[in-house]
Symmetry: C2
Subunit: 247 residues, 2 copies
DNA sequence: CGATTGTTTGAGGAATATCAATATGTGTGG
DNA sequence: CCACACATATTGATATTCCTCAAACAATCG
């Protein structure tokens, strides 16, 4: 096996299902590019629970990918209130919304001990100039992030508390599957308060809905771990938790 | 004046405050590029009220900019219920969320008789390959769209009905100012039902909140036209319409 | 003008926030 | 390993917001 191919395999192995890997590896990178990439990306740097990766308002220094663990992103409004914008798991990209103002729009915080890959924004910018397929993939990923946000809008705008929780659980489950993990059980790395904040509900309502779902045999709940017992029922709650159809 | 400069001026004049113009003109396009651009972009094509520009699920054929009028974008969920994702005014870009799946994620419909500029996606793709500054601007615009969506999430997630209406009015007003128009009055091109759908409320609640604001002397309301009388009060409603700060 | 569509206003009820109390973890020092 | 303190989660009772249903009103269009 030539040295370059072995190198490619190592990177593939290191990055697995990561979005950055999808971004770089399969799309027409020749072996020189891969070698260059290895020197550009810092791989799997530890980030302890509670530490921030970047803060709202900071200049966009790098784009990140979650290698292990889990993170949240949150915006602070004028009054200093926090709104959680998303939860991020291995393979997810962080920092894309900073492309707009060249400044991070939110703060990213580790929900548990995590590992992060990082590529300097300037270096990525150069690479994108050199590799057309990388640009297309990058824009695809941003378009993806856009339509993800819009799906979330659809949930928050239309659904009642049960629909919101059901939608979130199904979403987390689906993302696990996409990464090749079992659809259930799901480890909820975030606190109830963070779930509630994200979904636009109160802590108590989150707790009540989860309890109700457990009583109905749809999920099994053990603090941070949720096992989905009845996917169909959950789909029903997610869909029909919506308001009336008259609008 | 050389022919190329005159040409540049014409395009500048035609496109005014348009996002596509910001995208193309000021950022390092040489005069040949501008000449090329003129042949690539269809300018100000009429789109009558009620007609769709593109539909959810269609392949991404082009990127659009609003030249005159107003449009809405909406997603249909599995049950055929509509969720309005945004309202678009002159200078706004449409179709960016299609970059993800190369497919339009929503349907765009004219709220009133409008005019639309259009550039074939394939042609834009080629231009982006040729002009690095255009790529950066394009990614900035996508990042901008991302953080716009996230601001909306912040509103829908945290605010009560008064806060939502107040935020929307201020947002529309600010966008008018950015385009060099007076901050007030605002013409609401959309129906109450569309406002309600967008904000995750019911028609009646929208109507009641607007009436209440008028009684309090914060706005003057005449069907489709809203004049903002007290910006500070509106800001207060927008900010403190939020739920408690304990989360 | 009548029919249709869109808007406003009113009364009642359901969903969810708020306040309060209890229970369950989780970490720390002895 | 235990005991304590502190954070987090659940459950209950009450209050409020907002949706639902209903009716009147206004605008638009043939």
């Amino acid at each position: 096996m030539p040295a370059t191919s072995r190198r490619l395999e190592q990177v593939n192995q290191a990055c697995g299902q990561c979005s950055l890997a999808h971004l770089c590896l399969p799309y027409g990178l020749d072996t020189d590019d891969v070698a260059q990439l290895e020197t550009e990306v810092e791989v799997a740097v530890p980030l302890p629970r509670g530490k921030t990766l970047f803060r709202q308002g900071e200049p966009l220094a790098a784009i990140y990918a979650v290698s292990a663990g889990a993170l949240k992103t949150a915006m602070l409004d004028a009054d200093g209130l926090e709104q959680i914008m998303g939860f991020y798991y291995p393979g997810d990209l962080l920092g894309l919304d900073g492309f707009g103002a060249q400044t991070h729009q939110c703060t990213a915080t580790a929900l548990e001990d995590s590992r992060i890959c990082r590529i300097e924004f300037e270096r990525l910018d150069d690479l994108i100039d050199d590799i057309p397929s990388l640009r297309r993939q990058m824009m695809r990923l941003m378009g993806q992030a856009l339509s993800d946000d819009e799906s979330l809008l659809l949930t928050l705008g239309r659904k009642n508390s049960e629909g919101r929780i059901a939608t979130l659980l199904l979403c987390l489950s689906r993302r696990r599957q996409q990464r090749g993990l079992p659809a259930s059980p799901i480890r909820l790395s975030m606190k109830r308060a963070e779930l509630a904040n994200f979904l636009g509900m109160r802590i108590e309502t989150v707790s009540r809905v989860l309890s109700r779902m457990q009583h109905n045999g749809i999920i099994t709940l053990a603090r941070a771990e949720v096992a989905i017992c009845d996917f169909d029922a959950l789909e029903t709650w997610a869909g029909h938790g919506a308001w009336a159809a008259d609008q």
